[in-house]
């Protein structure tokens, strides 16, 4: 095994990702190669050193500083999503109920002949608008 492969195995060792065969190959190489052996020892000392030092302790007044800045009621004041959805559906249902009552009172009580006339007037108006739309299209087409 060459030193390049040994260097890669050394990284696996510190990744804690070493299988038995890799470990055996590395041990063998380290026994034979003083350069890699020294490299491995320095790295072991450095990394174990890093892992052994403790976290810095946050200052004592640390939490007080945070709680001064945050609003503990912040999420209490925000309405949960499901509640606002229930409200929205209730409002929509109420709106359609009133609309239905209004239409019933206005048109539901009419005589059936009046209803037909109203419908025909509505269809006629639609045709007129359609015709006007076509005319505008033709005029603008010619100009263009």
């Amino acid at each position: 095994m060459d030193c390049k492969r040994a260097s890669s195995l050394i990284m696996d060792y510190f990744d804690r990702n070493m299988d038995a065969m890799g470990q055996r190959d590395l041990d063998l190489h380290l026994k034979q190669c003083s350069l890699c052996r020294r490299d491995f020892q320095w790295m072991k000392e450095a990394i174990e050193g890093v892992e052994s030092i403790q976290d810095w302790q946050a200052p004592e007044d640390f939490e007080i500083g945070i709680f001064k800045e945050i609003d503990l009621q912040y999420y209490r004041r925000q309405k949960p999503i499901y509640k606002s959805r229930v409200g929205m559906w209730a409002a929509a249902s109420l709106y359609f109920a009133f609309l239905s009552i209004f239409f019933y009172l206005k048109y539901g009580t009419m005589h059936w002949e009046t209803k037909i006339i109203a419908l025909m007037k509505f269809v006629d108006l639609g045709n007129r608008i359609y015709g006007l739309w076509g005319l505008i299209g033709k005029v603008f087409g010619k100009i263009g």
Binding site: M11, F14, D15, D39, W42, M43, E45, A46, I47, G49, V50, E51, S52, I53, D55, W56, Q57, A58, P59, F62, E63, G65, I66, F67, E69, I70, D71, L72, Q73, Y74, Y75, R76
Partner: protein, 195 residues
């Protein structure tokens, strides 16, 4: 038994329901980790405290956007890392070199009996602080805070290959710096002995 992750998620749920005072549990669990990352990055106690507090304040108001697929620690370390990087960028923009800052305020040795141990610890601190920021944060997250490669990818928004590559380079730098320091020291000791 509930894992730390489960407990964190439960607390977050409570906070979102309106029990904001439960946030102190998350602070208690992660304050030293977050403060340490900030201190390692900015190398100034006052600035590190302010930044770490900002991390928690930002986290509190962003809790609704927290994705439960990730560990809370990964999420809060991500906020910490981003704030520190921003801070260092601003500081650099003010043309203040890192070398001009006060050196790391390590605690004075409290007892002679720990002299050798503390010597070693200070050496390690010097070695870590001597690394460039991009490499320093990787060493801290992996070897100090115990994050996995996957977690680090999420924290730093980097692909796995880059994280691996950089961490390997960071370890090599760490090793070389420690060797330099030790050799420098042994040189001094040899000189003193000659005198």
């Amino acid at each position: 038994m509930a894992t730390l992750q489960d407990r964190d998620h439960k607390v977050i749920e409570e906070i979102l329901k309106g029990n904001g005072e439960r946030f102190h549990e998350l602070i208690a669990r992660y304050k030293n980790g977050v403060y340490s990352i900030c201190l390692r990055m900015v190398k100034d106690r006052e600035e590190a405290r302010d930044l770490a507090q900002e991390v928690f304040i930002k986290a509190y108001y962003s809790l609704k956007g927290y994705n439960r697929e990730y560990k809370f620690s990964t999420w809060i370390f991500k906020i910490a890392t981003n704030l520190c990087i921003d801070h260092l960028r601003k500081r650099k923009a003010q043309t203040l070199s890192l070398d001009e800052r006060l050196s790391m305020p390590y605690d004075a040795a409290s007892a002679e009996s720990v002299y050798f141990h503390r010597c070693n610890r200070d050496e390690i601190n010097r070695v870590i602080d001597g690394l460039p920021e991009d490499y320093r944060i990787l060493i801290i997250l992996y070897h100090k805070e115990g994050l996995s490669y996957q977690d680090i990818c999420q924290v730093l928004d980097l692909p796995m290959s880059k994280v691996k590559n950089r961490l390997h380079r960071a370890r090599n730098m760490l090793k070389e710096k420690l060797r330099e320091i030790k050799e420098e020291e042994s040189g001094w000791t040899a000189k003193e002995l000659q005198v």
